[in-house]
Amino acid sequence: MTLTRALPLTTLAAAIAVASHVQADTQTLRVATVNNNDMVIMQSLSDEFEQAHPDIELDWVVLEENVLRQRLTTDIATQGGQFDVMTIGTYEVPIWAERDWLVPLTDLPEEYEVDDLLDTVRDGLSQDGELYALPFYGESSMLYFRTDLFEEHGIEMPEAPTWEQVHDWASQIHDPENEQFGICLRGKPGWGENMAFVSTLVNTFGGRWFDEEWQPEINSAEWQEAISFYVDLLGNYGPPGASSNGFNENQALFSSGKCAMWVDATSAAGRIYNPDESEVADRLGFSQAPVAETPKGSHWLWSWALAIPSSSENQEAARKFLTWATSREYIELVGETEGWTSVPPGTRTSTYEDERYIEAAPFANFVLTAMQNADPTDSTLKPSPYVGVQFAGIPEFQAIGTQVGQMIAAALTEQMSVEQALDSAQRSTERTMRQAGYYD
């Protein structure tokens, strides 16, 4: 081989050697996350993190919420080790932590200011007093309404509306011929869709999912009353085809001015207050989620959080990423680059003390109160054995919630009566609980 021919080859070999050496020093963190606005912003701002940590490279796996949940559960239950950072919610954290699937997040650096995290959110992400995930954003639920329509009908919104009042107002404003619907609520079946809302409604009507012996109470008088109310309200004063409306569909309906009221996630506020996304941004009011018999559990508590699976091989680097993405510094970064209405809400007290945020987001303090009041450990009038407001924190709940959600959607579309739907939901839940060994 002549020198001229050998030279490029040796150069190439040397280059590969150098490149592989550089690569060996870089750790790749695989981050699994959901596809929503806040997470998309995090992905776009993550360059900052990579610049500050040149030895860490981020590899994103973005998936639709339900797909992600299935994907992560398979991986963590089999200790597959495919991910270093997982985006999970308040439902998963205690269940997974109990099985030692997550790395406990103790000894967080002082500058992280762990005490700045909202207490209720922190409790929701802890198991036996130890934190297992850091909150990326948190939400509760509240009532949004159209101030112009309320004025037109001479209705004044009280500080704490009741469901009976909401029913009255919906019937007054409802004008389907002009595509003006009294109220929009979730109807699409799913434990995270209609059942998130329905559970809070049942709570405030005095019902609960299970009694203290884990016997389901779905065909109890409280459930009957709550679901009959829901079917009547949404069926008569809601948009057509309400049983296929989830969060997205209702947000689209509300922002295009079709609904007079909407009870849903507080995290929607940033979007429906944004004139680029909403036609009703200037005619928007909000109030607490309505109550019936009891204020307990009338509004939910949810947080999307970042956790490190114990099967991850890059736990140290993952910790660095977690403490960056959920830090005060990150919230500041989003506020400065994306605008203060876009900062991830509901995680830190300091966000609600920041003048810039309060000015941009008139709903800020309201959301804070709603989140502080939501107590997952005491969300039902009668005592219950489970933790969670809009869900029961047991592994079986996903299946139960979705199945019951389908029955309730069937009652909403009048395929069966409320009584039939609840009886059948009760039977299937009893079966699931028996199979899971809660009783014989």
């Binding site: 929503n36 796996v61 295009s256």
Partner: protein
């Protein structure tokens, strides 16, 4: 040509076009939505609007389409070739050298398609974890091969069965070996059938979403995972989802268009006797 038959043909043509339009409409609407803004995408449906490439730009900015597309091509073509490689000898022996168990074996193979895939997810996931096949194209190709083999063998079997046995016997009398018989006679004579089997297998693998979502995460993720990353129950991403979906189906749509003659020829191969 008489009047009645003209009327019949026109009627049939109208019916065919109506069905075609009905089937194609959702795809057409998706392509259209991809060129709208997010606000237009959720507003009242309209055919007329100022098209924008905003969604395409954003979609490409968030994830590298070509990486996903290459994975899709790799696994669907790879698994099809592998399935044909195993399927042709299998179908040959079943069609020309049947035993009393052949029929039963064929039915049993088909019955594996009736098992819901989620039933075997955990065992396969564990095997893949131990073999280091998670999130690899090799692993996904392997699963797709297994998934499509029953259909491939069945289709090839029916095509091979239609071939007169005498032709193969004649070649055998001329001294051809089994390999020569398959390579020089069987394959060239049933090529339309093999081609349409292959095309179907490519399309099935391209569209497969369960295994690709569960066994890959980023390195081997095909276009189905790409689409899943733009779907969301919270937040409005309809224009972006449509743009991503359009990009994901474009290659297979063009591929189907170009090979439609072979597909139809293959699927009707031996139908008229």
């Amino acid at each position: 040509m008489n009047n009645a038959s003209t009327q019949r043909r026109v009627g049939l043509a109208i019916l065919a076009w109506t069905i075609t339009c009905l089937i194609f409409f959702p795809i057409f609407w998706m392509i259209l939505t991809g060129f709208k803004t997010e606000a237009q995408a959720v507003a009242s449906p309209t055919l007329f609007f100022t098209p924008t490439l905003e969604s395409y730009v954003e979609v490409q900015g968030r994830a590298d389409y070509f990486k996903f597309a290459w994975n899709s091509v790799y696994v669907s073509v790879g698994s099809t070739l592998l399935a044909l490689l195993i399927g042709i000898p299998a179908a040959y022996s079943m069609a020309f050298l049947p035993t009393k168990r052949t029929k039963g074996t064929l039915l049993w193979m088909l019955s594996t398609k009736m098992l819901p895939p989620v039933g075997v997810l955990v065992p396969i996931y564990l095997i893949f974890r131990d073999l280091g096949l998670l999130d690899t194209r090799t692993g996904l190709t392997f699963v797709y091969t297994l998934m499509n083999l029953p259909i491939v063998v069945w289709m090839l079997y029916t095509f091979f069965k239609d071939l007169p046995k005498d032709i193969l016997e004649a070649s055998r009398m001329d001294g051809a070996s089994t390999l020569q018989e398959v390579l020089l006679l069987l394959i060239p004579l049933t090529l339309p059938g093999i081609a349409s089997t292959g095309l179907l297998s490519v399309i099935l693998s391209w569209n497969e979403a369960f295994w690709s979502l569960n066994l890959t995460s980023s390195s081997a993720a095909p276009l189905t995972a790409y689409i899943a990353s733009f779907s969301s129950p919270e937040g409005l991403f309809w224009a972006k989802l449509s743009a991503a979906s359009t990009m994901a189906i474009a290659p297979i749509l063009i591929f189907g268009w170009l090979t439609q003659k072979q597909m139809v020829r293959g699927l009707t191969f031996g139908a008229v006797k």
